[in-house]
Symmetry: C2
Subunit: 307 residues, 2 copies
Amino acid sequence: MSSTGFSSLLSLARKLNNFYLLEYFTNSCLPFICEGVQVGLISSKVLKELQRFPSVFAISSNSVTFTPNLDNPQARNDALEETLLKLKSEDVFPALRGWRGECYVTRASSSGPELFKMERAGSVLFGVKSYGVHITGYVNHSSKGLCVWFQQRSKTKQTWPGMFDSFVGGGLTESYGVRETAIKEAGEEANVPEDLASNLKPVGVVSFLHESERGIQPDTEYVFDLELPEGFKPSNNDGEVEDFVLVPVKEIPDFICKENFKITSSAIALDWLIRHGIVTPENESYFAEIVELIHLPIHQLFQMKQR
Amino acid sequence: MSSTGFSSLLSLARKLNNFYLLEYFTNSCLPFICEGVQVGLISSKVLKELQRFPSVFAISSNSVTFTPNLDNPQARNDALEETLLKLKSEDVFPALRGWRGECYVTRASSSGPELFKMERAGSVLFGVKSYGVHITGYVNHSSKGLCVWFQQRSKTKQTWPGMFDSFVGGGLTESYGVRETAIKEAGEEANVPEDLASNLKPVGVVSFLHESERGIQPDTEYVFDLELPEGFKPSNNDGEVEDFVLVPVKEIPDFICKENFKITSSAIALDWLIRHGIVTPENESYFAEIVELIHLPIHQLFQMKQR
């Protein structure tokens, strides 16, 4: 129990949703609307900068939209890229220093038409929903018992350098499907061969609404489990990983609560610990609250904010 | 795809949350507050009847509380029982015909002190959070492949008679713990022997906000998986079950969408299909929305409504 009266795992799940719990209902942000659909959340700090681009954004007291002339995806994509490159060149937002050259696509709904796409690094400024995949690689070890592989991120990575993270993870961009992204990232980040990757088991999503110094992140991560043979040793192919560590399940709750664990990836570990019967209603008083907080109804919240 | 443009499983998850999606944000209900904590939601129909009990309930334009003299659990329990028995004798609410003689306990938080307890059948009138356990019993069948056992509820049961339901389920009442309730119900409902029940694996919760003709049901169900040997045939011990059926996984999505499947139990089956990799991001366009909707943040929503 921490001094807040919450358990350490509930405190973690609440920290993960700091924006939802502390800011979302205070109306400190304006909804970002495109074609009648709320697609993002814009803070007052970002709003101030967007006011300098009146040919791109129409700003009223209760929403931000694209200007009427930007009435199609291509026009919006071009305008967004130009705006973000300008802001990047001025170094206004630290988030844009992590420019990836990869775009997140925003759609009217999960299976709806594309509304626009935006450089990944810019998504936190507009609070647009981002999507990714995460893989928990685990081993039924003959001497150590059930263990989970975690990666330590490269110390030269633009975001969260050197921090501990899921076994494998990556953003879902315009070019690849969900399972396809998981297989690709498993090969690139951890050298998982295709025959092993074929055992990837989709087991759900985690969703949360986090705010960091970079911006607002309404995020949904597609979650995969991958049981690995004891003899498999992950190694990195793309320079994005510093190291891999194998952690016995009993140590994981403490491991993911440390400051050097990437907070947004703790949702994936929490979900795994719960689905695998390690964290239970018997050993965690706030079991239900935690399960709920790592599955925040992001897709509904956006629709409601619009009312 | 249905005529709404949603998939049939998304439509099911939305129907499960009909109150959350259609009523919750319209302020058609008053929060029910006890010791500064929102513990329920009261509809205008119920409010009208509660006005007849001014010594029990203090009703203002924005909340319902107990009267100041009911300042301890025992006094509240007695007043609630008297009120509910009176309403039952007048047959004002069909929900009270299902009187169980079992109480749901309401606490300030999951591990907080008891505020009051109330007959199970009355909980839907006050929209108090209810808790239960559900077990999905499944078999890796040698000829039929992966299959799940479902029960058909007794045709004489007070609630949802004759409908299909999870393998085993039961309300969490004041006398038993979570795992203890699951073991007890597995024995009573499906004749699961204790050595088999010891394999019960806690795997999470489902939470939703449903309204039926009985009332409002903010519900959290603790979910257990139980792999069963092919030779095990469930049989009923307590008269609450009509029959058991073994359904191959591919047939389950259609099975749970039928009108004769208890809607509030469909959340448990959906969660199982997702965790076991049957419903996937590849075969369900609204995968993320469905996962989110069966894990509604009930515990947070109650705190927010209060503001």
